[in-house]
C-alpha cells in the first residue's frame, strides 16, 4: 500500500517547533506536580472525613467524591474557567478575567480538585484495610483521636495505598492534557499547534505520545523508590 503522505519527523526538533514541544513538556510537568500536591492534601483530608465518627462530616466527604467523580473532567474545567468568575458577581468577574495566565491557574486547581476525589477513594480503601485493633492499640497508648490519625493511621494507610496512588499520579499527567481545551499550552496543545502550522500532526502527536510514555516511566521509577524506602516492616511488598 502506498500512502499519499510524506513523513517529516523534523517537526519534532526543527526551530521553532522543537522549542514549542519543550515548553509544552515543561508545562505538563508543572501542571501534574502542582495539581498532585493539591490532590494529595485535599484527597487525604476528604478520605479521612469519610471515616470520621460524625455523620455530617462523613456526608460532606461522600458528597464531594460523588460530585467530582460523576461529572466529566472536561465539563468541570469548563465550569471553573467560564462560569467560575461569574459566581463572584459582575465587578469581581472582570477583575478575575483580567488575571494573566488565568487558564493556567484554573487548570491546576481544577485538576487538583478532580484528582482529590479519586485519591480520597483510595485513602478510604486504605483505612478500611487497617485492622480495628490498630486503632484501639493507638488509643490505649494514650494518644488522642487526632494524634492517633496523625501519627499512626494516616502514615500507615498512605503506605498501603502507594500502588494505587502511583496509578493516580500517572493519570494526573494524562489528564493534564485536557487543559489544552482552555488554551493551556502544554504538550498536547503544542503538538496540535505544530499540526496547524505544518500539517504534520501525525509526527507531532506521535512525538507527544513518546513524551507521555517517558513521563510515565519516570513516575513508575520514582514511586517504586518511594515504595521500597517506606515499606512497612513485616508486610509483603512488591519487589
Amino acid at each position: 500500500m502506498r500512502l499519499a503522505y510524506n513523513f517529516d519527523w523534523g517537526v519534532l526538533w526543527r526551530a521553532p517547533y522543537g522549542v514549542w514541544l519543550l515548553q509544552g513538556i515543561w508545562l505538563t510537568i508543572q501542571l501534574g506536580l502542582i495539581a498532585w500536591i493539591i490532590a494529595l492534601v485535599l484527597g487525604v483530608t476528604i478520605g479521612t472525613m469519610r471515616i470520621s465518627p460524625w455523620p455530617w462530616v462523613r456526608r460532606i466527604g461522600t458528597a464531594y467524591v460523588e460530585v467530582f467523580r460523576n461529572i466529566p473532567f472536561l465539563v468541570q474545567l469548563f465550569f471553573w474557567y467560564f462560569a467560575g468568575p461569574m459566581i463572584f458577581g459582575q465587578a469581581m468577574m472582570f477583575k478575575i478575567n483580567a488575571i494573566s495566565g488565568l487558564n493556567y491557574y484554573v487548570a491546576i486547581i481544577g485538576l487538583g480538585l478532580y484528582t482529590a476525589s479519586r485519591v480520597a477513594e483510595h485513602v478510604r480503601a486504605g483505612f478500611a484495610s487497617i485492622a480495628r485493633d490498630q486503632f484501639q492499640a493507638a488509643l490505649s497508648t494514650g494518644l488522642t483521636e487526632i494524634q492517633m490519625y496523625r501519627f499512626v493511621i494516616i502514615p500507615y494507610a498512605l503506605r498501603i495505598i502507594i500502588p494505587p496512588l502511583t496509578t493516580e499520579f500517572l493519570t494526573i499527567f494524562k489528564n493534564s492534557s485536557v487543559a489544552m481545551t482552555i488554551g493551556v499550552a502544554e504538550t498536547t496543545f503544542m503538538s496540535y499547534k505544530i499540526d496547524s502550522e505544518t500539517f504534520h500532526g501525525l509526527e507531532a502527536t506521535t512525538g507527544a505520545m513518546a513524551v507521555y510514555l517517558a513521563i510515565g516511566l519516570g513516575v513508575v521509577k520514582l514511586m517504586g523508590m518511594i515504595e521500597s524506602r517506606f515499606r512497612i516492616a513485616g508486610l509483603v511488598g512488591r519487589k
Binding site: N70, P72, S191, T205, L213, G216
Partner: protein, 216 residues
C-alpha cells in the same frame, strides 16, 4: 433561571444524542475488542501475548485526547480523503477503551478455575467453544460491576471528542455559551445531566457488587 438552556434545548438535546450514539458504538466495539485483548493477555502463545501486552501498556500510558488526535490525523492518510470526526472518534474510543475493558476481563478470565476449563475440553469442546460458553459468560458475570464502572467512564470520556470538533453535548454547550454568555446555567446544566446519569449508573453497579458478594 434556566432561560438560555430552555431556548436552546432542542440543539443541546441533539448534542446529547451524539454523545449517546458515540457511547453506544464505543461500548459495543470496546467490549468486543476487549474480549480479544483479555484473551490475548492470558494466551500462552508468545506471538500473541507480547504484541497484545505491548498494545495495552502503550495505550494505557497515553492521554485519550492524544489518541483521538492521532487517529484524526492518521485516518485521512489511510482512507485517502478527509474524514468526518464521528467515525474517527468511534475508532479512537474503541482502540482506547478496549485496553481498559481487556484488563478487567483478563482479571475475570483468570478468576475462572482451571478445572472448569479442563472439564469443558474433556467433554469435547474446542478452544473457541470453551471460550464462548464458559470463559466469557463467567468472566462477564463476575466482572459486571467493574464493567459498568468502566462504561460510565467511557460515557464521560466521550466529552473529549470535543477536541476534534464533534458536535456532542459539551461542544454544543460551548457553542451556545459563546452566543448567550450564560456559563453558569449552561455548564451547570451539562454537569447536572452527567451527574444524574452517572450517579444512577453507579447505583446499578453497586447493586451488582452486593449481589456478587452474596455469591451466585
Amino acid at each position: 433561571m434556566f432561560d438560555a438552556v430552555w431556548r436552546n434545548l432542542p440543539y443541546l438535546l441533539g448534542g446529547y444524542w451524539v454523545t449517546v450514539k458515540l457511547t453506544f458504538f464505543a461500548l459495543i466495539g470496546g467490549i468486543a475488542l476487549g474480549v480479544l485483548v483479555g484473551l490475548g493477555r492470558i494466551s500462552k502463545k508468545k506471538w500473541i501475548y507480547y504484541p497484545v501486552t505491548f498494545y495495552v501498556n502503550l495505550i494505557r500510558n497515553i492521554p485519550l485526547i492524544l489518541v483521538i488526535f492521532w487517529f484524526y490525523f492518521v485516518m485521512p492518510i489511510i482512507v485517502g480523503r478527509p474524514m468526518d470526526p464521528f467515525p474517527s472518534a468511534v475508532i479512537s474510543f474503541i482502540v482506547f477503551e478496549a485496553t481498559y475493558f481487556g484488563e478487567i476481563l483478563r482479571a475475570g478470565f483468570q478468576s475462572v478455575s482451571r478445572d472448569l476449563i479442563q472439564a469443558g475440553y474433556s467433554t469435547g469442546l474446542t478452544y473457541w467453544q470453551t471460550t464462548r460458553y464458559l470463559l466469557v459468560p463467567i468472566a462477564f458475570r463476575r466482572m459486571l460491576p467493574s464493567m459498568i464502572t468502566q462504561s460510565i467512564v467511557t460515557y464521560q470520556d466521550t466529552s473529549l471528542a470535543f477536541v476534534i470538533g464533534l458536535p456532542e453535548l459539551v461542544r454544543r454547550t460551548a457553542i451556545v455559551d459563546g452566543l448567550e454568555v450564560r456559563s453558569i446555567q449552561l455548564f451547570g446544566f451539562v454537569a447536572v445531566v452527567f451527574f444524574i446519569t452517572c450517579y444512577l449508573g453507579s447505583i446499578v453497579s453497586r447493586r451488582f457488587e452486593v449481589q456478587r458478594e452474596r455469591g451466585f
